[in-house]
């Protein structure tokens, strides 16, 4: 018998991380999902923001990407560095898109 892997992706949304406690809660959530085998920590291969002016270039990457093994949803997790907020972005189809600014 093969047990179907179930996930909670549909119940979770993107988030602006504006407190340390929220950051800890979300971090623990993702870590728990990995430990339980539902999510996997996948390599980050695309930046969310690239700025270039002539030869000068700055490329910004998130801190973590998690992929849901059940539904294929991709989660981008950028840690806060207060006063800069953190962020969680969700890509239900698993296809990454930059932030577009």
């Amino acid at each position: 018998m093969v047990r179907k892997l179930e996930c909670e992706c549909a119940e979770h949304y993107e988030a602006d991380i504006d407190t340390w406690q929220l950051f800890q809660d979300i971090k623990h959530f993702f870590e728990d999902q990995v430990l339980s085998g539902v999510y996997e920590d996948v390599p980050i291969d695309k930046p969310y923001y690239v700025w270039q002016d002539g030869k000068e270039k700055m490329i910004w990457y998130a801190d973590k990407w998690y992929k849901c093994k059940a539904c294929g949803c991709l989660w981008e997790f950028s840690y806060p560095d207060f006063p800069a907020h953190g962020e969680v972005r969700k890509f239900p189809d698993g296809v990454y898109k930059g932030r577009g600014y």
Binding site: T19, E56, Y61, G86
Partner: protein, 169 residues
């Protein structure tokens, strides 16, 4: 997270000389135009002229406006830390800090961020370093019931471009 930073000041045209410090009272030095290269070789970025800092960082500056500068001499800045904020970090101030409420107000340090503002350390940044400078943006507190106005000097140096040995001297 900045993973790949280009060498400092690889494209800013013109000679780089010391610039007039941004005034503490919140007014920009005369002659500055947003989105333009300043007379002193500094470059000002704003929402209409987006710069190298990603939006979450740019928005920590008042009006999401900040100036890229290259230090022409070794310069001492001040970093406020404690609690969840470590002694080494990206943010600092040109203005000497007292810590506590003074720093929380001037730098708009929201208590929920976990920076207790208990300690202040000097940060000695060497000549030639690229910094991003502006004023701390206001922040809402207590779920929007109050506000920290900020307005103090705020410096940002990306982690990829600083050396931890600069801190605590």
């Amino acid at each position: 997270m900045l993973r790949n930073g280009a060498p400092p000041d690889s494209t800013v045209s013109g000679s780089v000389v010391d610039s007039p410090a941004l005034s503490v009272d919140g007014k920009s030095p005369p002659g500055y135009t947003e989105g333009a290269t300043g007379d002193a070789g500094d470059v000002i970025y704003s929402p209409i002229s987006p710069g190298p800092l990603e939006n979450k960082i740019a928005s920590t500056f008042r009006g999401s406006t900040y100036t890229k500068k290259v230090l022409t001499e070794d310069t001492v800045f001040y970093r406020v830390y404690g609690g969840n904020a470590e002694i080494v970090g990206n943010y600092m101030s040109r203005t000497p800090q007292m810590g506590g409420l003074q720093s929380q107000f001037d730098l708009a340090l929201v208590p929920e961020w976990g920076n207790t503002a208990t300690y202040v350390t000097k940060v000695t940044v060497p000549k030639g370093t690229v910094i991003y400078e502006g004023f701390a943006a206001p922040q809402t507190i207590n779920g929007g019931a109050g506000m920290l106005m900020g307005g103090g000097s705020q410096i940002f140096i990306p982690e990829a471009r600083f050396n931890p040995s600069w801190f605590g001297n």
